[in-house]
């Protein structure tokens, strides 16, 4: 647990384990994290949700109705997103796939 912010630290999530940084494109870990947040937000927009990075240590998920949740990784973010929207956040949903194809999830 972080003594300053009180957030329980977990082990590294598998999605953070593929690369040594800086990567081949010169991105730092923090830049990659921000890029990941931008990408996730394109998907979350379909559900009226948004994600922001907090101190490069965790994420804050927010709904348009003012709900928010602190989530340490993508796995917990999807569980929180589903809880907030009260419906499955399903990557196999044809409407979501079509929206991503059209690029209108902004």
């Amino acid at each position: 647990m972080c003594a300053l912010c009180g957030i329980v630290g977990g082990g590294e999530h598998w999605t953070d384990g593929a690369k040594d940084f800086p990567g081949g494109e010169g991105r730092t870990r923090q830049q990659e994290r921000q890029r990941r947040v931008r990408m996730v937000n394109k998907v979350l927009a379909h559900y009226g949700l948004s994600l922001s990075d907090w101190q490069s240590s965790t994420f804050v998920l927010k709904s348009h109705t003012g709900q928010s949740a602190i989530v340490p990784n993508l796995t917990e973010m999807w569980a929180a997103a589903q809880w907030m929207t009260k419906r499955p956040c399903d990557p196999l949903d044809p409407e979501l796939i079509a929206a991503l194809e059209r690029g209108d999830t902004h």
Partner: protein, 366 residues
């Protein structure tokens, strides 16, 4: 933490009377397993003579998600923690491997989940190969009556077909064909005909530094022996019906998605975490070799239901093929939908990269 240095846990599963204990007995005679501890669910007819043997009484704790595969088995948690404490105190020999024999009716998922996710256990132990015994005489019938048997086959890293000396050859061939459809990537041995090598069945796995390349080659070889291009064999439905495979087995489909070019790692992570959150119960296995953007060498991904094991980095490619190849074993999910979804998510990386001035890189599915 060096994942490879943790104590490996092998799970021996298989239906009632399929020969789990006999297999265990044969393997424990090997000096290679002399420093192994064994946890078994019940004492069966076949006696095990091993110095570190303990029994389990099933007790499950359902976690908040309510998903059966994400349960911590209380009895197993207590037994493994206790065994480790005794090892640390010097009350039991310093075993270097743990073998767990399940009951015949067990769904192996909660056992796997307990090893991978229980907060204390995951710091000292890692999951090794899951070995499933399959009875050549009765298994096809059991597929129909007991869906657990299908799941036991689907999550296996190694399949051991027993009693082939009691079954007629057509029966065995039909069973092997059914097993291959459910789980194409697991090496298969016939215990009545083949040598039982503990090294091949238990010890050699993707986390052994000197074995991980061979293990990945084995997955790829098993996948390619199916003949048709990966993914063209839809694994269930018409072909399965023709062979009289049960509806439980027909629900399970295995296929391999192959990608030209490199994958955007962030896009892949977003997609797979989302897929497993919604459909993890029905994604029985994911195994793959990934060509990741900006990385010269491949990454091995390996998961069971909601859980992805720590990634493995290979020092080189196992062959000349530089495509990403991901084997899925799923229940009731559409291959086409999975493929379309992953392709759509991959394109997220293009626009995200363009916003910071990078050229797009779009792998095309094949």
């Amino acid at each position: 933490m060096d994942y490879a240095s943790l104590i490996p846990v092998n799970i021996i599963t298989g239906f009632l009377g399929s020969g789990k204990t006999t297999l265990l007995q044969r393997m424990l005679a090997s000096p290679q397993l002399a420093d192994s501890a064994v946890l078994i669910n019940e004492f069966g007819e076949v006696g095990l003579d091993h110095h570190l043997l303990q029994t389990l009484d099933e007790q499950t704790v359902l976690l908040q998600s309510g998903c059966v595969c994400c349960t911590i088995r209380g009895d197993l948690k207590t037994a493994v923690r206790d065994l480790f404490s005794r090892r640390e105190r010097g009350e039991v020999p310093p075993f270097r491997r743990l073998l767990i024999e399940t009951t015949g009716l067990a769904d192996p998922s909660p056992i796997i989940y307990t090893i991978l996710a229980e907060p204390v256990i995951q710091n000292h132990f890692r999951l090794g190969n899951v070995v499933t015994t399959v009875d050549a005489v009765n298994c096809l019938r059991q597929f129909d009556q007991y869906p657990e048997t299908v799941k036991q086959v689907a999550v296996a890293d190694r399949l051991v077909v027993t009693k082939t000396d009691l079954a007629d050859p057509e029966q065995t061939s039909a069973l092997v064909a059914a097993l291959r459809r459910i789980n194409p990537a697991a090496p298969l041995v016939k215990s009545a005909e083949d040598a039982i090598e503990p090294n091949d069945l238990l010890v050699s796995d993707v986390y052994q530094a000197d074995e991980k390349m061979n293990e990945v080659r084995r997955w790829l070889a098993e996948e390619s022996t199916r003949g048709a291009p990966a993914g063209a064999d839809h694994g269930h439905g018409h072909a399965a019906s023709r062979n009289g495979v049960s509806r439980h087995a027909q629900d399970i489909e295995s296929f391999c998605l192959t990608f030209e070019g490199s994958l955007d790692w962030s896009a892949f992570g977003i997609w797979l975490t989302m897929l497993l959150n919604t459909h993890g119960e029905n994604v029985l296995r994911v195994k793959g070799l990934l060509n990741v953007q900006d990385l010269a060498t491949p990454v091995v991904i390996h998961g069971v239901q909601h859980l992805i094991h720590p990634l493995v980095h290979l020092d080189s490619w196992p062959d000349d093929d530089r495509r990403s190849r991901v084997v899925f074993i799923v229940r009731g999910l559409s291959r086409e939908r999975i493929e379309a979804s992953l392709a759509a998510f991959n394109r997220l990386g293009e626009s995200a990269s363009r916003t910071i001035g990078e050229p797009p890189a779009a792998p095309a599915t094949k």
